[in-house]
């Protein structure tokens, strides 16, 4: 296996792995946060607006870990620095 095949294969495999593993924990966390917020709203409907606002901000914070993984996998596929370096060094 020459180095170009190796770089391409590892990049694609890692991109899939990154988003697959990286989305597990935020999904669990967001589900937990949402369930907690729903039960809080059920208990105190008057505070619904505050709870919803805090929930949205909190979900965005939790979600950002998944977004990092997504950005990294996108970089690996579409803007891979190692792949670009390899193309330049071979003059392709």
């Amino acid at each position: 296996m020459d180095s170009s095949t190796l770089i391409a294969a590892v990049s694609i495999f890692t991109a899939g792995l990154t988003i697959a593993i990286g989305s597990i924990a935020p999904a669990l966390g967001e589900g937990r946060a949402l369930a907690q917020a729903l039960s809080s709203i059920a208990q105190q409907p008057d505070e619904a607006s505050t709870i919803t606002r805090t929930l949205f901000v909190g979900l965005a914070m939790v979600e950002s870990t998944a977004i990092y993984c997504f950005v990294i996998s996108m970089i690996l596929i579409f803007a891979n620095p190692f792949w670009n370096h390899f193309l330049q060094s071979t003059g392709g």
Binding site: T50, V57, E63, I67, V71, M74, I75, F78, A79
Partner: protein, 247 residues
Amino acid sequence: MTISPDEVIWQWGPLVLNRTILFTWLVMGLLVLVSWIVTRRLTSSASMTRGQNLLEVLVTGLRNQIREVSQQEPGSYLPFIGTLFLFIVVSNILAMIPGYVAPTSSLSTTAALATCVFVAVPIYGIRNQGVRSYLKQYISPSPLMLPFNIIGELSRTLAMAVRLYGNMMSGTVIVAILIGFVPLFVPVLMQVFGLLTGVIQAYIFAVLAMVYIASATEAKQNLAENNIEQKLNSESSSTDHEQTQNK
């Protein structure tokens, strides 16, 4: 397929134009133009133009949100937070127009916006509580926490930039991928979902900026709260006193 609208589309000598710059100026021009046209004919009577009504709803909503989030008077925060929110929300919503690329789906725009927040936090903090008291926050609860506080400041700026960029870019990329194998209806649904994401992300960016600024101006606010509490306590004690006297 690209993950950034930063490629050069037009070049004339040292002048370089890419789609991010083009659409950023378009959004800024649109905002200024609409505000200028609407504020030409402001009235305080009950019958107002639609534009004035819209702007009043926006400003009132922003003021209420800032007041609820920061527990402070929104006056000095409104220009900064309102500008951030309006710019992001307009540039995200205009993504419905074919050919338009949201400037927020470029990491350079979001990094610039996050840098604005990064600079605004110490400015508001120092203005509200003075240099000494602001810098004291970095060594609280103990000087050991100094590096962590600094890292936290930097990493939350990075997180803000990457969060907005990732959300907007993922919308574009997912639509582009879906067009490849289900070109009918499904991309439209994802675009509608992208509208929702865009508005929520704009809201979150503004609220987070407000939360960070509020946390920098917190010490003074705690002082004010303590004063109010003391006042309430003294009032309640005085009423107790009166009641005992009445007895």
